[in-house]
């Protein structure tokens, strides 16, 4: 398509031809914008500060063995804790027993509304202050798990609740008619189906947690406990170059992109079992 911005002629063109012409024009405008930006960019000055390969190389191999590894560990710990607590809260919220429902509602509203940073801080310093002598099991890892997991649980509870409610009522009736108890029905029939429904939104939670794990620095971390963001900002200070930020950004993508495709594969596998 060579025509770029010409007004489509009113006559002699079918709707399909006009649509094709419009789309061609949109592509052309997009290309022009990209071309303009690429030509206007001062590549030399940009790469001198943001794309310094020598600085990037100096971050290796600790980038992988410490920073990426710690980010993954913190994320998975908090996700597992949040998922378990979120499931419990979701079932409490759907309970016919008032006090369970009220507690779940209160919890979800509170922890969804508070900044993760504040929750993490209160877990790390508030709890030991209020209960002198209390130590988290697993110490630092315990604090990370609970501190990040408490907030994640609130979000996941709402997601899981929606998933449970999306399972048709007939499933519960069929299971109960076969003599299954309410609990057995929940765990064998309803929850497995609910999880297939909430895989995409739960992936969202997981990816948000990957990035929220950068808040762990408020706990006061040792060098070996640095996750990606803290690791990068240390280099930022010592090297006087913003290149570490780019490296860290790419490292986050290296975590989240495979995660997304893993979930897509999972969804595809479950497609027929729904």
């Amino acid at each position: 398509m060579t025509t770029t911005t010409a007004e489509p002629a009113r006559t002699g063109m079918s709707r399909r031809q006009r649509a094709r012409l419009t789309r061609g024009a949109q592509y052309a405008v997009g290309l022009l914008v990209i071309l303009f930006l690429a030509l206007k960019t001062d590549w030399k000055s940009f790469s001198d500060s943001f794309l310094r390969l020598d600085i990037a190389a100096s971050m290796w191999p600790r980038l992988l063995t410490e920073a990426i590894r710690n980010t993954l560990v913190y994320t998975l710990l908090a996700f597992a804790f949040g998922l378990a607590l979120g499931l419990l809260l979701a079932m409490m919220k759907l309970s016919s027993i008032g006090p369970y429902r009220w507690f779940a509602n209160g919890y979800i509203e509170l922890f969804r509304g508070l900044p993760s940073l504040v929750v993490l801080f209160m877990v790390a310093y508030g709890i030991p202050n209020a209960f002198p002598g209390f130590k988290f099991p697993g110490d630092f890892f315990g604090m990370v798990t609970v501190g990040l997991g408490l907030t994640a649980a609130a979000y996941m509870a709402e997601t899981i609740r929606a998933g449970i409610q999306a399972v048709p009522k007939g499933q519960m009736e069929a299971a109960r008619s076969l003599g299954m108890s309410p609990g057995r029905t929940m765990f064998s029939i309803v929850i497995p189906q609910a999880f297939r429904i909430v895989i995409p939104p739960l992936t969202n939670e997981l990816i948000l947690l990957v990035k929220d794990s950068s808040l762990v620095y408020v706990l006061g971390v040792s060098v070996a406990q640095y996750e990606l963001t803290k690791f990068g900002s240390t280099f930022l200070n010592t090297k006087a170059s913003p290149t570490p930020l780019i490296v860290v950004a790419l490292a986050y993508l290296a975590i989240t992109l495979p995660l997304s495709s893993l979930v897509r594969a999972l969804e595809k596998r479950f497609a027929q079992a729904r």
Partner: protein, 268 residues
């Protein structure tokens, strides 16, 4: 009281202000095949669902065998094991393969070993003519096949009686026959069955007894040749007339204004 398969006494059910069942009493004997017919909203499905307590009756009492379903202290899960239930929308478990649909309750509820449960499941798949599809997921099967598997799933629990809630209403017309054939086979084997249905031919041929319900009441109750062949009540007559002759529209069935509105809606 002598042991009936199902015994219903003064059963009433209301959803808020909407009274669906009014003071129903009936007994169903072991081995009996009872078809419940009636217009939609007559309460027939609610009656069936009250029998295994999927609906909680507002008042009245229900016994299945010697167990009183309406006793607040009844072990409902235990009694339900003896009552098969087949739904209009099949309600197979979509996340489980066919064989697992049939074994899950056997192993988790009856405590059978996996080997035994599979044996029972395969026997029942054979009975409904689905032995070759045990590895399929429900979504890969036609409605008729799904319903036959749902019947096999109930049979795998060795129920004393079976409840069917409009088992063929969600099926394409050409698939109705295969499900009715399975049910006919069950009836011939002496299974106690309570069936809510619109299949008058099936009711006439297979049922020992037909119950016609309207407005929450049992209007007629008797042998199919009586209730379907020679109905006495005007409401039964008018219902059967419409069901058996769907192309005939009676003038009094159409509200004149409604008809006019419907026509003017069609005209641009």
């Amino acid at each position: 009281m002598a042991t009936h398969a199902i015994s219903i006494r003064n059963l009433s059910k209301a959803f808020g202000d909407n009274v669906v069942l009014r003071d129903i009493s009936m007994d169903i004997e072991p081995g009996q095949v009872v078809c419940v017919i009636g217009p939609s909203g007559s309460g027939k499905s609610t009656l069936l669902r009250c029998v295994n307590l999927l609906e909680q009756p507002t008042s009245g009492r229900i016994w299945v065998g010697t167990d009183e379903m309406t006793d607040p202290d009844v072990d409902i899960d235990k009694v339900r094991r003896r009552i098969g239930m087949v739904f209009q929308s099949f309600n197979l478990f979509p996340h489980l393969k066919v064989l697992d649909n049939l074994t899950i309750a056997q192993t988790k509820v009856l405590g059978r070993s996996m080997d035994e449960a599979k044996k029972v499941a395969r026997h029942n798949l054979e009975r409904v003519g689905m032995a070759d599809r045990e590895a399929a997921f429900p979504s890969q099967l036609s409605g008729g096949q799904q319903q036959r598997i749902a019947i096999a799933r109930s049979l795998s629990m060795d129920p004393e009686l079976m409840l069917f809630d409009e088992p063929t209403s969600a099926l394409d017309p050409e698939l109705v026959g295969e499900v009715l054939a399975v049910m006919k086979g069950l009836a011939a084997e002496g299974m106690t069955m309570m069936i809510v249905t619109h299949e008058m031919g099936f009711a006439r041929e297979v049922a020992d007894r037909v119950v016609f319900m309207d407005g929450g009441y049992v209007v007629e109750d008797g042998h199919p040749s009586q209730v379907i062949g020679d109905p006495q009540n005007a409401r039964t007559k008018s219902f059967l007339h419409r069901v058996l002759n769907p192309m005939v529209i009676e003038p009094e069935d159409m509200h004149p204004d409604g008809l006019r509105d419907a026509i003017s809606d069609l005209a641009p």
